[in-house]
Symmetry: C2
Subunit: 387 residues, 2 copies
């Protein structure tokens, strides 16, 4: 854990002799670096050329996904409740979390709705209209969720762990927190790159308000929605959380009706995915004929033992494929950046990237439409105009 003093410095609301309050202004600076889909709550993604400038995504270029305005939390008063199917329920201050071993991990987070807007060609999908920037790779520090759960002593029926945020979301005429849920077997991984953290630090600094200050979960290999920000409560249970964002939202459904919600389980993992980030103007990318440089990202599926096998690009509708070269650590839970050269001709209508992983996973030509527009990982096809 970073210390409580660091946290107080970062809270932006408490003067400490000798401390410099930078977080509020830093947030304002960051805002300029992102494209905001909405500001109440904050939902924003970076420009794609910014996104591939470094393997570690600077916090200012890290997408923001929130369901309510950022809660204002005084770290002095903060308490994390640990409840449910445990023999020793507790309420933990930030100070008391410091007694657990500090762990850090580098992991990519991606929104289940990344690339959602591509579904609209087939039928309008609701939600934040993400392009392909709802992804980022950061270094996270905190304590292992498993260490906290071990101290709480799970009862034998424990099968799932719920997370509840301190945010306040207006929903169905009431106020609910954002909630997540993960299987107990995942929660109890205490070490290694796949271990879920209770993180208070991102890229070496205290979490910003947009990223969950003072504490969030960080679940490597799972969709971003399971990495609950502004974490206030952990509940151990024999079933997944009944919170709206587990029981209803974040599911693959054809229609948003009661049968479909109940038939479909919560999404936990994401499939292998990739995008072209440069050149990329999203809708009107102009190119000259000849060999050009492409770059982008590729994210393996977040499953232990499964990494990226290859990334392939094409400028001729898939007749010929060129293998890209990788940049960054080859890891199950992190993206890699890639570079490739392709020959653009007068007949080039689009640039395409697809990727394969080492466990047989692949980006398909087309993904069946779903009503909420999740898990879009079809071939990434960038329309271009060639002069």
């Amino acid at each position: 854990m970073i210390t409580r003093r660091d946290m107080l410095l970062a809270s932006g609301g408490i003067m400490i002799a000798g401390g410099t309050l930078t977080s509020s202004t830093a947030v304002a600076d960051e805002a300029k670096e992102l494209f905001f889909h909405s500001t109440t709550p904050n939902n924003a993604e970076p420009k794609l050329d910014d996104l591939v400038k470094s393997w570690i995504t600077p916090t200012k270029h890290f997408y923001v996904r929130s369901h309510a305005p950022n809660p204002v939390i005084d770290p002095k008063d903060f308490q994390l409740k640990v409840e449910g199917m445990v023999n020793r329920p507790s309420s933990l201050s930030l100070k008391s979390l410091e007694r657990f071993k500090t762990r850090s991990t580098t992991a990519t987070l991606t929104c289940a709705g990344n690339r959602r807007s591509e579904y609209n060609a087939e039928g309008k999908v609701g939600g934040v209209q993400w392009q392909s920037g709802a992804i980022g790779n950061a270094t996270w520090q905190g304590v292992a969720l498993a260490d906290v759960l071990k101290e709480a002593e799970l009862t034998p029926d424990a099968k799932h762990v719920w997370f509840e945020g301190l945010d306040e979301i207006e929903k169905g005429g009431g106020i609910i927190p954002f909630g997540g849920s993960i299987p107990i077997a995942k929660a109890m991984i205490a070490s290694g790159a796949g271990a879920p953290l209770l993180a208070n630090s991102m890229n070496g600094a205290a979490l910003t308000p947009d990223h969950g200050f003072p504490l969030r979960t960080l679940v490597p290999g799972y969709i971003g929605a399971r990495s609950v920000k502004w974490l206030g409560r952990i509940v151990v249970s024999d079933r997944p959380s009944p919170n709206h964002y587990v029981a209803t939202a974040y599911k693959i459904v054809k229609k948003t009706d009661p049968i479909d919600w109940t038939e479909s389980g919560p999404i936990y993992r994401y499939p292998i995915n990739a995008a072209i980030c440069t050149p990329n103007a999203n809708t009107n990318t102009k190119l000259s004929t000849g060999e050009i440089d492409l770059s982008g990202y590729v994210l393996p599926t977040g499953r232990p033992g499964s990494t990226v096998k290859k990334v392939l690009v094409s400028a001729d509708q898939g007749k010929r494929w060129t293998e890209a070269t990788m940049v960054g650590k080859d890891n199950e839970f992190c993206w890699q950046l890639w570079n490739a050269k392709v020959k653009v001709t007068a007949g080039t209508k689009r640039l395409i990237v697809r990727a394969l992983d080492t466990s047989g996973g692949f980006m398909p030509y087309r993904v069946p439409w779903n009503a909420k527009g999740y898990l879009q990982n079809s071939w990434y096809q960038l329309p271009v105009q060639v002069n």
Copy 2:
């Protein structure tokens, strides 16, 4: 409902003056018409040319999927228990079920593992090694599950309905029944082609022992596993059944480990699917060049409002596609048979069929491998040798 006397006649174990006991010998005759993957329990599928002889599949050509030897049930003693989140739990004899309105429906059942063996090219999958015959279309008669549940009066928390068979499956050192589970919103559909039945009749006769005598569920539009045979108990609950065949088996998983089982929800629906049935020798189909006749089946996804849009066949690796003509009722819950002519050349390596539905569903070129080999609906590719 067919009457109790009909049922007694069909039970095969009880002599009645004037009755002719045909069911035991009928089962023996049927056995010759199917290819048995196993006999204890019975798991069998028809030859593909038999399968497409008629839109209604004769019981003798209907695939059999069992997890334990057929239980021997005396219909005189039979009781169906209705329990759980209901105000009026009950135990219903076959006679007492006759007070509910008789309903009949024609619906296709298909095993979630149909076409499983095709996954083996990529990696061995466990379970019955189904070819493409684990599908059939029959007329079912019985009472609406919804009518029985209405009489039992659901409590407000009711969200799922569990089914339990009277079979006895050895599992993990103990004996368990086969179990299924469906969402309450599906269970409460009382009429129309999608209404789940408690069926005691198949194709105008009492259920055979292989098909669940004396009573089974029939859930149109869901994988066959939810149509529980030898039904003995219905439990209304706020969650899906904890039975092994809901909580663990019949899920899409990459590995059979605890995290994967918990991450994945039960399969309810199947995607659009099709196969070539004639000519088809599965592995060594010999053809001469020239125009040939193809036939097969196509099953839409079992979702209200979604029917088959088109079936396309190709003899040249997908360069050209010929649209097939349909035979049989165009219905969300029933297959159709199809016919097409394609030109076979010396270069023809395989015949391919794919299909599209009216809600944007399609058979993909390839389906990601899963450890249990479920929901294989990639392009059906039949290798052929051309003389």
